[in-house]
Symmetry: C2
Subunit: 295 residues, 2 copies
C-alpha cells in the first residue's frame, strides 16, 4: 500500500532528524553549557519545514536527499539562532516559544546571545565541512554565498530591522518587502538547496524559485492570521503580540477575510509553479500543510 503524502513528509522529517544528529550532535566538551543551550533551542519541537523543503526539493529533482542534509541542517541552525535572538528582552521579549520557556529564561541573556552566535557560526561550518565529497567545492561555495545572503543584511537580518524600524504606515508594498526578507528568504533558499549544490536546468530552477517565493509569503500570511486567532496552547507562544506591538499584519491591512483570500491565492500560485516539475507531490503537500495551519 502506498503511503500518503503526510506519512511521507513525516518520514522525511524523521530521516532528517537522525541524519542531522550524526553530523552535529550538539555536545561540546570544552563548553558543555553552550552545547546544552544550543541543543535546548534546536530540539524545541520545531516543525523542520525548511529542512523538509530542502529534502523534498532534492527528491523532486531526482537527487539523493541524504546529500542535502548538511545544508538543510545549516538552514535549521540559522533559523534556530534567529528565534533565540528574536525572543531576547531587548527584541520581542518573549517568555515562551513552541510552548517552552525561551532560551534566555532558562540560560540567562548572556548565554542566549552566545548560543545564537554559536549556532549561526556553526551553520557555516556544517555547510563548509559537513557535506559529501561528491558535491563540488563550487557547489558548496554557491550554497554558502546564498545562505549568507538570505540570512544576513540583504535577507533575514534586514527584515528584522525593517520590522523594528518600520513607519506605522500600513503600506502593503513595504509589508511584502519586509516579509520577503524576514521570513521569505530563508524559506526560499531551502527550496533551492539542490539548485545551488548541483548544476540544474534553468526551467526547474525558476519553478522552484517561484514556488519558494510564494510559500515564503504564504507562511507569513498564515502566521499573521494565527497570531490573531489562536490560543497560547495552539500557538506555543504568546498570541496577539503583533497587534499589541503595533506591527502591521496582513489581517490588519486586509481584514481577516482578505488575508485568508490572499493565503488561498498564494497557495494556488505555489502549486502552479510546480507544474513544470515532474515529481513534485511532496512539495505540493508542504504548501498545502503551510496553508492548512490557518484553518
Amino acid at each position: 500500500m502506498s503511503r500518503t503524502i503526510p506519512e511521507q513528509l513525516a518520514e522525511l522529517k524523521d530521516f532528517f532528524e537522525k541524519e542531522a544528529e550524526s553530523i552535529f550532535p550538539f555536545t561540546l566538551p570544552q563548553a558543555p553549557v553552550l552545547g546544552e543551550a544550543m541543543a535546548y533551542s534546536y530540539h524545541a519541537g520545531g516543525k523542520r519545514i525548511r529542512p523538509i523543503l530542502a529534502l523534498a526539493a532534492a527528491k523532486a529533482l531526482g537527487k539523493d536527499p541524504r546529500l542535502v542534509v548538511p545544508a538543510a541542517l545549516a538552514i535549521e541552525m540559522i533559523h534556530t539562532y534567529s528565534l533565540i535572538h528574536d525572543d531576547l528582552p531587548a527584541m520581542d521579549d518573549d517568555d515562551f516559544r513552541r510552548g517552552r520557556a525561551t532560551s534566555h529564561k532558562v540560560y540567562g541573556e548572556a548565554l542566549a546571545i552566545l548560543a545564537g552566535d554559536g549556532l549561526l557560526t556553526e551553520a557555516f561550518h556544517v555547510a563548509a565541512a559537513g557535506m559529501d565529497n561528491s558535491i563540488s567545492p563550487s557547489g558548496k561555495l554557491r550554497f554558502i554565498r546564498e545562505l549568507s545572503r538570505a540570512a544576513g543584511i540583504r535577507g533575514m537580518v534586514a527584515g528584522q530591522v525593517m520590522d523594528m524600524e518600520h513607519p506605522d504606515t500600513g503600506d502593503a508594498d513595504f509589508l511584502e518587502q519586509l516579509h520577503v526578507r524576514k521570513t521569505g528568504a530563508m524559506i526560499q533558499i531551502s527550496c533551492l538547496v539542490p539548485a545551488f549544490l548541483w548544476e540544474i536546468p534553468e526551467k526547474p530552477w525558476h519553478s522552484l524559485r517561484k514556488y519558494g517565493e510564494k510559500i515564503g509569503l504564504l507562511f507569513q500570511v498564515v502566521d499573521d492570521i494565527l497570531d490573531e486567532t489562536a490560543t497560547l496552547a495552539q500557538l506555543g507562544k504568546t498570541p496577539g503580540k503583533d497587534r499589541k506591538q503595533h506591527k502591521i499584519t496582513y489581517p490588519a491591512l486586509y481584514g481577516r477575510d482578505g488575508a485568508a483570500e490572499l493565503a488561498d491565492s498564494l497557495l494556488h500560485e505555489a502549486l502552479q509553479a510546480l507544474e513544470d516539475i515532474p515529481e513534485s507531490e511532496l512539495l505540493a503537500g508542504i504548501a498545502r500543510f503551510i496553508a492548512k495551519r490557518s484553518h
Copy 2:
C-alpha cells in the same frame, strides 16, 4: 631611502582600509540604520591587527596582498561583531570601546544585537563571494571552514563561554585554554589566511601556525597587563574591569613582573618561529608592536 617597518605597517593598514571599503562600503538602502550601526563599530578606530597580519603573511610567502583583503575583511568584521555583542549589558556591560560610546549606547540593544548578527553573517558572504577568481573554490572553502571554526563553538564563542562560566580557580592551563579560544584562534587564523587560500609547503605552514599561536597569547597577556596599568584615555575602555569582574588574569596569576616575563618569552618564541620564513620582517615587526603595547 627605505621605509622603516612601522612605516610599512602603516602603509599596509591604509592599503587594507581602502581596498576593504571598495568590497563592502556598509551602505544598505533597504535598512540604512543597520548599515550605519555596522559602520559605526567597524570604523571605530580599530588597529586592524588581524587584517595587517593576513596581508603581512601573504607578503612573507610571496603572494599578492591584494588577494587576501576579502578574507582579512571577513576576519575584521567578525572581530567587530564580537566586540559589539561583548559590550552588551547582558555580557560585559561596557559603555566605552576605543574611546567612543558602545553600539548599544548609541543605537539601543536591539539594533546592537542585529548589527552584530549582520556583521557575522556578512563576513561569510564576503568570504564566499568577495574573493578574486584566481583563488580556487577549494581554497575559499578551506578558509571558510577554518574561519567558522576559529570564530565559533570550538574557538571564540567557546572562549567567551569559558570566560563567563569559569570556576574562579586560577588554573594556568584553563586560563591558557580559554585565551587560545577567545582571542588566540582569530589571531592565528589571520596569520594562516594565505596558507588556506593557496597550497603552500608544510614548513612555512607550521612556522606561521606557531607564530600565530604565540602572538595570540602574547596579545592577551599584554591586554591583561594593560587592563591593570593603563588609564581610560590610554585604553579607550574602562580599565580595571577584569579584576572587578573577578576574572582570572595573567598579572593576577603570575604577578605583574611574572606576566611581563611571560610576554617577553612569548615574543621570543614568536620571532624564533619566523626563522624559516625568508621575508618575515613585517611579521616580526607586528609581534614587537603587540609586545610594546605593554610598556
